[in-house]
């Protein structure tokens, strides 16, 4: 690293005598990026003031001026390759900031609009007989818990057993087919899962059968492949030494799987299951079709329509009451509640894997 780090004047260190090309070129000073950024921001602010721009064009202008400025300066001192590199760094960073904007905006909007009705009444009252102000989402929260709970009860045994089959038994064509179709199944649109549950219940229990259990079936169609995928990954990383040690002690295979393999992988599997619940708990489309909606509390998943948080939020937005604001407030608060549930589930999953995961080998 013999190149100068202090700002070089091109004539003294770069330009060799007799005009021959030097192997050493100058570098920009360390403060170059921040300096150019500051200069770009000041310049953009001036232009924005002159032309009466808003905030968004100002930020855009700053980014463009920065990219042009830094790469131009770098081209002069450091040469073309470094200049392209610096320009690309600017592009990558601004792309990241650009993408962050809507995502931050989503979170901020949901929190600021959802807090209006984030009160005790919202969590203890249903919408039975409520017109206009007041009311709550107790019935919808219970419905979400019931449908997601039932879906989990159905998906985890099936998904886990399939993962065990794939890792411990499957080697032939059947295993390959299952792996492939599980992957394909992860891509089923949620509304198609809802239509499937609707069609299934229409055929078995007569047309128009819409209840919480149908919604749970639709959700488990979406959930099973996620559970299979994550459990399979976790079972695969259980060391073979453990299995072989157990076999050597004369343990039957089923006992090896249940007593040795599963306990070793249990942390990872619980993380996967929690994330799977987080994925389906906010689903709207399948529940809209298979579970329906109601204003009253219905805790029986096997008869009658059932409200769920996501569908509740949708209908409060889509068919609001006469003063429109209380309905929209409820829609946003339901959305906020849903987002909090998803975040908490994600945090739980993260902490399970942090607390219980065996130490990584390397």
């Amino acid at each position: 690293m013999s190149t100068t780090t202090s700002p070089p004047t091109p004539t003294e260190s770069v330009e060799p005598p007799n005009g021959t090309k030097s192997l050493v070129r100058g570098t920009l000073p360390r403060w170059a990026s921040w300096g150019v950024l500051g200069a770009a921001a000041v310049l953009a602010a001036l232009i924005a003031r002159l032309l009466g721009f808003g905030v968004a064009p100002f930020v855009l202008l700053t980014a463009v001026l920065y990219a042009v400025g830094i790469s131009g300066w770098s081209r002069w001192i450091e040469g073309g390759r470094k200049a392209t590199d610096r320009a690309f760094t600017a592009v990558v960073t601004s792309a990241f900031l650009l993408a962050l904007t809507p995502l931050v905006s989503v979170v901020v909007t949901v929190i600021s609009k959802g807090l209006d009705r984030f009160d005790g009444r919202f969590f203890t009252y249903s919408m039975r007989g409520v017109v206009g102000d007041g009311g709550g989402a107790y019935h919808a929260i219970m419905g979400t818990l019931i449908t997601s709970g039932l879906a989990t009860l159905m998906s985890v045994p099936i998904g886990l057993a399939t993962a065990i089959y794939l890792v411990e038994y499957g080697h032939g064509r059947l295993a390959r087919a299952i792996t492939f179709f599980v992957d394909v199944m992860t891509g089923i649109p949620s509304i198609v899962a809802g239509l499937f549950a609707y069609a299934l219940f229409a055929l078995v229990f007569g047309p128009g059968t819409v209840n919480g259990f149908a919604g749970a079936v639709a959700l488990s169609v979406l959930m099973i492949p996620i559970v299979v995928r994550s459990s399979e990954e976790m079972l695969k990383i259980v060391p073979d030494d453990l299995r072989e040690a157990a076999f050597a002690l004369g343990t039957p295979k089923w006992k090896v799987v249940l007593r040795v393999v599963l306990p070793t992988a249990v942390a990872g599997i619980s993380t996967g299951v929690t994330l799977a619940i987080a994925r389906v708990v906010g689903e709207t489309a399948p529940l809209l079709i298979a579970t329906g909606a109601t204003g009253s509390t219905n805790l029986n998943p096997f008869s009658g329509q059932m409200a769920t948080l996501s569908v509740f939020s949708y209908y409060e937005y889509a068919s609001p009451g006469v003063p429109i604001d209380p309905s929209l407030d409820r829609a946003w608060t339901a959305a906020l509640t849903l987002m909090l549930i998803v975040m908490v589930l994600n945090l739980v999953a993260r902490s399970i894997s942090l607390l219980f995961a065996p130490k990584a080998g390397r």
């Binding site: 909007t109 992860t186 891509g187 649109p189 499937f196 299995r243 489309a285 809209l288 079709i289």
Partner: protein
């Protein structure tokens, strides 16, 4: 996993335990059940949609027959999703690069976590946000596009006054699929062999040249597969589109006017609760078409991913 196989073989040769047989049967049964469910999805949809195939054209909503009903929906679905992907895919590559190769390590880990979290935000929230925040915000730019680029059919206008246009829908979809596409690509970029990266840096490459020579060739197939997964998500996205897009049917490439083609999924969600009889069968038939489209897209994505696993395993 070959060791497990040998273990199983030895165990069977010694003695066939009934419990072992039963356990194997149960797990195999669960696997087969998944195949049955997937076949069931197709079969039940087909059975329930059948009446709309044989019904006379006048009974289908719109009175033009099944093909005429579904075709504009397919068009709208493809237009919105492809547009979303065109916006999201390049951004996703750049974000993945930022997280893996530009951000400080501590920050990168945190950002990776945030991206995973955002992938789990329910779609209805994106829908409400698109309707409340994004749609009004696109009005000004849409008018600008119409004024200066109106000669391009995409921006022929006249600009919608609500902002609930195809352009807004595509933007919302792009925001929604960005986290999942980024997650897939980031995963692949992280696995770029460190030695390749260090070798190219040691030969004097700048960071951009290192990325072009070592990271992108390694991650190129993951960019394709991640995009296909994102496309699959966008195709099946229901609630966000149902809330944001103000659809009026018809086939048009005009992105900023108030007359937009609907998408299959959003159309089902909007029409289903109020439909009965043949109308429901028709909606289920359109769902079947959506199922087929996403199936093809996902199969292509998986084929690309599997080829990559073979490739990286061999090298």
């Amino acid at each position: 996993m070959s060791n497990t196989g040998q273990g199983a073989a030895t165990a069977r040769r010694v003695r066939k335990r009934p419990a072992d047989q039963a356990f194997r049967g149960i797990t195999t049964g669960a696997g087969v059940l998944i195949l049955v469910v997937l076949a069931g999805v197709a079969a039940f949809l087909l059975i329930e949609a059948w009446p709309s195939f044989v019904a006379p054209a006048e009974e289908i909503p719109g009175e033009g027959g099944l093909v005429l009903y579904i075709w504009p929906l397919v068009f709208g679905t493809l237009l919105a999703s492809v547009l979303a992907l065109v916006i999201a895919a390049p951004l996703a590559v750049l974000i993945a690069l930022f997280i893996t190769h530009y951000a400080p390590r501590k920050l990168a880990q945190f950002l990776g976590y945030v991206v995973d979290l955002l992938a789990a935000v329910p779609s209805i929230i994106y829908g409400l946000w698109g309707f409340t925040v994004l749609a009004p915000a696109t009005r000004g730019p849409a008018e600008w596009l119409h004024e200066y680029l109106g000669f391009i059919p995409l921006f022929a206008g006249p600009p919608s006054t609500t902002g609930r246009t195809m352009l807004t829908t595509a933007l919302v979809l792009a925001v929604m699929i960005l986290p999942i596409v980024t997650a897939v690509i980031r995963e692949a970029f992280l696995q770029t062999p460190k030695l390749h990266e260090e070798a190219s840096l040691a030969l004097g490459a700048t960071r951009l040249e290192m990325i072009r020579m070592a990271v992108l060739p390694f991650g190129s197939s993951s960019i394709i597969s991640g995009s296909m997964l994102g496309l699959g998500r966008a195709l099946g996205e229901t609630m966000a589109v149902a809330i944001v897009l103000s659809a009026s049917g018809g086939v048009t490439f005009n992105l900023i006017s108030s007359g937009n083609p609907a998408t299959i999924a959003a159309n089902i969600a909007l029409e289903f609760p109020e439909s009965s009889g043949v109308a429901i069968d028709t909606l289920i038939a359109s769902g079947l078409v959506l199922f087929a489209i996403t199936l093809v897209v996902n199969m292509i994505a998986r084929a690309v991913i599997n080829r990559r696993t073979d490739f990286s395993g061999a090298s």
